[in-house]
């Protein structure tokens, strides 16, 4: 492979891989606290993208009952993405209160939580279809400011500019944003009192409450954070490509599952590594086979699980007698 193509694929893979990572971390933190997989996380991804789209003043060109509707104002993109992701976070909290908490307080099997979150995902998809419609919504090309509009790509061959390695500016921006979020998250979880308490709740909720940690509050915050990460990832992917309709988050939802299983269920560095591995693997799919790109994550998952059933960084499950 030509070195310039290699570098280009590598950088693009890195960019989408970090987005997968922050999305997958949303699954991971919920899993590590409650031991459940929140199947509505893909729908949260979709919601985040829609929220941001409307918050910047985008109009609904879909055919749902809100056809041609839009907000009477438009927020600057940076603000919109924060507010939109936060709204997605509160949707996550709502889902926890409606779909998970009632089951948990009755001591139901975790498998039921999985089913109820799948139900929530279907409701959200159908609601979006009903209200907005199934059409593609595209973010304006200048959401990141005129700079991006005028420079749709940047040449990354700093050594020999005559052999260009063009990377779309939006890829660079989503990489930068995701990276900042990953660093903040690592700091939050490893260094702050919040993170230590969160890990205590994940390890043993009863012990955590004996130390004075309000477990209920941390579950609330976990879903808020998880939803925020999901909504942010959805927005970033939406600006990079477009919002493909109510089912936008479904493939990403499944891919995110592949990422966390690949990295090791419940393992935070594992989710980041898994995201990067899958992002990079996809970026190196040759053009002729691009139709199979979506299958790469699962093929990779299959192969790696054959060798390491606990995932790349996962702890081997101790057999309980």
């Amino acid at each position: 492979m030509d070195i310039t193509v290699f570098v280009q694929n590598f950088l693009n893979g890195l960019s989408i891989g970090t987005v997968y990572a922050i999305f997958a971390l949303g699954y991971t933190i919920v899993f590590s606290i409650l031991g459940i997989i929140n199947f509505s996380h893909g729908a949260i991804f979709t919601l985040g993208a829609y929220f941001t789209y409307f918050l910047i003043g985008g109009l609904n060109n879909g055919s749902g009952i809100l056809a041609n509707a839009g907000l009477p104002f438009g927020l600057p993109f940076v603000l919109a993405i924060l507010v939109g992701s936060l709204m997605a976070g509160f949707c996550g909290v709502l889902i926890e209160r409606l779909a998970f908490k009632p089951l948990r307080t009755r001591g139901a099997d975790p498998l039921l939580a999985l089913v109820s979150s799948l139900g929530v995902a279907l409701v959200i998809v159908n609601l979006v279809q009903y209200l907005i419609g199934a059409e593609i919504l595209s973010f304006p090309s200048n959401v990141f400011g005129e700079f991006v509009n005028q420079n749709p790509s940047i040449n990354f061959n700093f050594v020999d500019p005559s052999r260009p390695i063009p990377i779309r500016t939006v890829q660079i921006i989503i990489f930068a944003v995701s990276l900042v979020i990953l660093v903040l998250l690592a700091y939050l979880i490893n260094r702050t009192k919040f993170g230590k308490a969160l890990r205590a709740v994940a390890e043993n909720p009863i012990t955590a409450s004996l130390l004075g940690v309000s477990v209920d509050r941390y579950i609330f915050l976990t879903f808020l954070l998880s939803g925020f990460l999901g909504g942010l990832a959805g927005t970033l992917v939406g600006t990079s490509f477009s919002i493909s309709g109510p089912y936008f988050g479904v493939t990403y939802g499944l891919k995110g599952l592949a990422v966390i299983v690949l990295g090791g269920l419940g393992d935070i560095p594992g989710a980041v590594l898994g995201g990067l591995v899958i992002g990079l693997a996809e970026a190196f799919v040759p053009g002729d086979f691009s139709a199979y790109k979506e299958a790469v994550a699962f093929a990779l998952l299959f192969i790696i699980l054959l060798v390491r059933p606990q995932g790349l960084l996962g702890r081997r499950l101790i057999q309980k007698v």
Binding site: K193, R199, A200, E203, N204, I206, L210, L211, G212
Partner: protein
Amino acid sequence: MPMLEIAGLSVNYGGIQALVDFNLHINEGEVVTLIGSNGAGKTTTLRAISRVIRTKSGTIQFNGKDITRSEASSVVSAGIAQSPEGRQVLARQSVYDNLEMGAYIRNDRKGILEDIELQFNRFPRLRERKAQMAGTLSGGEQQMLAIARALMSRPKLLLLDEPSLGLAPLIVREIFGIIAQLHAQGVTILLVEQNAKIALQHADRAYVLEAGRVVLEGDAKELANNERVKQAYLG
């Protein structure tokens, strides 16, 4: 007025009655021990006080305040800390972070650092291992950490659940040395033990629990000479 007063407490697990019409009180500065064999309901009592299980009936008053329906976290804030059965250290956090987590309800950074230092002086082995993951400590070290962690919230009442469990006699003596020290410093303690001998030696008063009911109570020294106690628990 006693510091802790439990009246008519009953706890069920499904159909099993773990505590039946249970009464207990602790005065400030006392070390009170609750002894009894496996399954008597000792851990259940501590869980009920710390509000991590539901109680069926009865009341728990702490310093005159009814905490029977309080959140577990506000019981800690009210001044009750527990070193639970099986130690339950945070295995994937360092010794130091475990101590910090013990001070979760506090915000006085300086005081917390001083108290960590105090625990390290009390348990020098923890200082040597402060960066080590708590899960890799020995059983005795984990027990020391669990007690130190509970002390980090500066509790008015310390609940200890079987600190001697599974430890070598030498370590047990070390741990009870610390309990005696805490007693001398005026810390109020509710000590749950299966090792009745050492518990009665270190306590002011004692309760004997059988199948969820208090069958004997009184001065610890007197109970240690009680024929029934001698036969059943000191044999």
